[in-house]
Symmetry: C2
Subunit: 569 residues, 2 copies
């Protein structure tokens, strides 16, 4: 491609609306253009990168035995009403009506289409397992589309759906996809972690997220410094010291703490660390009142608590609940809680002693509260929000929390969709059984943006060569000099003849502008053909990833470019 | 691909809802499955064929210098309101609102998106010409979707848009696309004609349709028996005899024709051919009353008439107009029409004499009416509907009318979109000018269906090899015999190793069912590996296009398949 012809111009300035680096750079480099909030036109350069990602995804899906098909984007409402997602999706679903008044939607994922399709085509256990996928645009009417391609309303996604006879076969289909996903992200050059994800409260199916590390990421995850553990923050479980504190226990003593109804105030009033205080959080469920104990410097993770009680909802005390139950808000302590209250404590409570906690009357606390001696704990559970510096449950290494971008998410759905849709196969024993399903998503436009988030510098994008729109830019630095032009044209033609994806920057621009654009667009290798070089019989090569510059002889330029490209990340 | 694994099963019976052969066969062969009216899931086999068509289209577009990008499917309403298409499109437009109440639509074509995009990126005459295209699903809420993929509500289309400095440059861009289109349809193996299409009343731009011949086609076109002329029926102009009828003219005589207010009745009453009568059709426009004369056996083509008056609308007389103007409905003749009436006659009127026509009073006609002597004609024009047997305007050959499927349509739009959208470029002289635009569409799903319409027999589809989902079916006829299986597996593996797209029919099915499915799905070459053949050291080959069967030695089977494939159409 000659850049003089390439449709779309780079932008000199950062677009005002863009915050995230990938959003800025993909706009500036003319990879995408905004049509409306969360909806972008993919320009020729962007489309080349998307196609490369698409090819990698397709190759790995095919190699994993998945079969490609293509489902419609416009989908009838009825099957969505069957599964309940028509209502559950709320405002995020793009809905429309056809001319006959029939309700339709634009698909965000397509379990409702693929499930009856498989049930019709593959109704026997002999047909299973089967895994089908598509790569198609998906729609979600995000409340606040942002960060360009990272949270768009129209996004390009690979969605796969596996159908199995039983849970063991599903686990095997899942394993195959897990491994295929790892290969996809490896080949795309992403720095990512796979985390056990929060199974949510939908029934606890196993699921994993593939998270690309990125400063702008909206999804937090936890990772051990030694690399042997990772999880999303909702699922992460810190290791708890199993050494009980030794030494004397102090006496349980009441102290006056006027107005100190928060941990910070009581710690200040009594000159102790917040970690020395014990927080007693009150919850209620249909099964009764629950007190949750955590050290004063930690927060209760309510999703973890909810999972313990699922499917019974459990919620925090409201103002009125304290008075109704005879609890003194801000000064509750675990000593002397009524028998009817279930007392749950985080594992970390077991490793503390001489706690400062509420005295169960206004403006007073106790010091020297000790478990078992002074208060009862019915059960120890993992109940705290993970935080930076917590210990890895595997090896005790330090846990770090970082932002990331979810680029893939795989689920063992089980019969979540096959049951409400009545999708059964005939098993070997002659009985009809619900398919055990898995679903597997990869965000292709997100991969593109995540790669830019991970690989850019102050000059522009540094594409991994596997997904760069072009591999090499031949920069014609002095196009007014015929000999320089001739050499640049020759090198460009030789690269194309060797099957190397090259551009020739033959635009009527200053050399400086061409260098800046080459850095911005992020070709892995740049070859500069200029007047001085040609006089000296050389071209200047630059590896974008490292900035390293070398020279090569003019007549061996093509080979030198090829060699440099091999070394590029 | 092993057919035992292939997702989707062929159907033994014709689906009840399918009328057109392509609809039946694409369903039976498991190329597509219906999701709702006019909306289909593309199954793995169908997707392979679509991808092949897509590759051909992409290669030819790229070779023609067009650049691929990808525009969104969900589009904001505002630019459509600017061009007037938001209203003009009526019920065919799929409309929706986002969560903030903003009007949006699903794009049928995207002039409203691409025009401002080009104006932003390429604002100078130096940037032109430019031609951009995309291959993406399009949406049109057809009142009556039918014939499967031929008239769907979701269809896969290549749409290209060219932008030029002036009309001459547009004509050149148009020519390049015209030629690229011919190469696309040639490569897809379609039997098609290119016709001058009705420019419509939108401003009279040049446009051509690429029409694939097919019995079920809804689009009629006209073609000379000698192949030197073709047009759609709205644009076709028959040759008119330039020989004036010689001989005596009879006298103008009034005859009583009670109740004979139609051509059929008057011809019967006076025992003349309808072609001997002269029909006088009355129209009105803001410019006055118009009488249109055509022979009694022909129909006025109102679109041709409209084009003569464009942009002033011209419509047929209503009941009240006859009385108001003093015309006797059913008995109007051109003799003695008031001076204020413009008299237009089809060219064919010039070549007739002694017309039977209305006497301008109830229940009476005249015979022996002759042009100039008895009535005036202000202008001769092409005004008749074309019909079977008309003469070619080029060589006088016989014209035939046939059904077809429009697979491509190219337009010189001029400034139809750039003007209302205010899309200008800065020309060399420093003035802002509107882009001269062209637009170019190819229906990819339609090509797939049209190819099936053209190439099928009672057994199934006969794919042209360029777009067959697979090239070769290796049919394992006796899979209970290990030696037969071993040979089939070997041949299948050898074909794959040679880069030939083969399937192995290893399904647990009778050989007869496998043969039937191979014919149905339409692989260009079948290689049958069976017990008898293996004993004799041969395989049976079949060329699907001709049904011709040959045998090849077992150990040279792969080479023989390859050679046969080369010969396949």
């Amino acid at each position: 491609m000659r850049l003089s012809q390439l449709f779309a111009r780079t932008l000199r300035e950062d677009p005002a609306e863009a915050e995230a680096p990938s959003h800025k750079l993909l706009l500036r480099g003319a990879f995408v253009r905004k049509l409306m909030a969360g909806v972008y036109t993919t320009m020729p350069l962007g489309l080349r990168t998307i196609r490369k990602i698409e090819t990698i995804v397709r190759e790995e899906m095919d190699a994993a035995g998945a079969q490609e098909l293509r489902m419609p984007i416009t989908v009838p409402a009825e099957p969505w009403q069957q599964t309940g997602r028509w209502d559950a999706y709320g405002d995020e679903l793009f809905r429309l009506r056809d001319r006959h008044g029939r309700d339709m939607l634009l698909g965000p994922t397509l379990e409702e289409v693929v499930t009856p399709l498989v049930a019709t085509e593959f109704p026997s256990y002999k047909d299973l397992p089967v895994n089908v996928y598509q790569i198609e645009w998906k729609y979600r009417d995000e409340l606040r589309p942002r960060y360009g391609l990272l949270r768009g309303r129209e996004f390009y996604m690979k969605d796969a759906y596996s159908f199995d006879r039983d849970a063991a076969c599903l686990a095997e289909s899942y394993r195959i996809m897990y491994e295929a996903y790892a290969r996809v992200f490896d080949r795309c050059g992403l720095n990512y972690v796979v985390v056990e994800a929060d199974p949510g409260t939908i029934g606890g199916g196993i699921n994993h997220e593939f998270m690309a590390l990125a400063d702008v990421g909206e999804d937090l995850f936890v990772r051990c410094e030694n690399g042997d553990y990772s999880a999303d923050t909702e699922a992460a479980t810190p290791r708890v010291s199993d050494v009980l504190l030794s030494g004397e226990r102090g006496p349980l003593t009441e102290v006056e703490t006027p107005g100190a109804a928060t941990i910070a105030l009581v710690a200040a009033a009594l000159r102790v660390e917040p970690s020395q205080t014990l927080k007693t959080m009150m919850f209620k469920s249909a099964q009764g009142t629950v007190a949750v104990l955590v050290p004063g410097d930690r927060e209760v993770n309510e999703r973890k608590l909810s999972r313990l009680y699922f499917p019974v909802p459990i919620v925090k005390f409201e103002e009125a609940d304290f008075a109704a139950g005879g609890f003194m808000k801000g000064f509750v302590g675990p000593q002397g809680l009524p028998d009817g209250v279930t007392v749950l404590a985080d594992h970390s409570v077991l490793a503390g002693k001489d706690w400062v906690t509420g005295a169960n009357r206004a403006d007073a606390h106790v010091t020297g509260a000790n478990v078992d001696r002074d208060f009862r704990v019915d059960r120890y559970e993992d109940l705290v929000e993970i935080r930076e510096g917590d210990r890895c449950p595997n090896d005790g290494g330090e846990l770090h929390i970082g932002p990331s971008i979810v680029v893939g998410h795989i689920f063992q759905l089980g019969t979540k969709y096959s049951e409400p849709m009545g999708a059964t196969f005939l098993d070997e024993d002659g009985t009809a059984k619900f398919y055990e399903m898995g679903c597997y998503g990869i965000g292709l436009t997100r991969i593109m943006a995540a790669a830019v988030e991970q690989r850019h510098d102050e000059h522009g994008i540094v594409w991994p060569k596997a997904i760069a729109p072009f591999q090499v830019a031949v920069i014609l630095a002095n196009q007014d000099v015929p000999e320089v032009t001739a050499h640049a044209e020759r090198i460009y033609a030789e690269l194309l003849a060797q099957g190397i994806e090259a551009v020739l920057d033959d635009r009527d621009e200053r050399a400086g502008a061409k260098f800046a654009d080459a850095d911005l667009i992020g070709y892995p290798v740049q070859a500069v053909v200029g007047k001085r070089g040609v006089q000296a019989g050389t071209v200047d090569l630059k590896l974008r990833a490292t900035g390293e510059r070398t020279t090569a002889p003019l007549d061996g330029a093509t080979d030198a470019v090829r060699a440099l490209l091999v070394s590029a990340p």
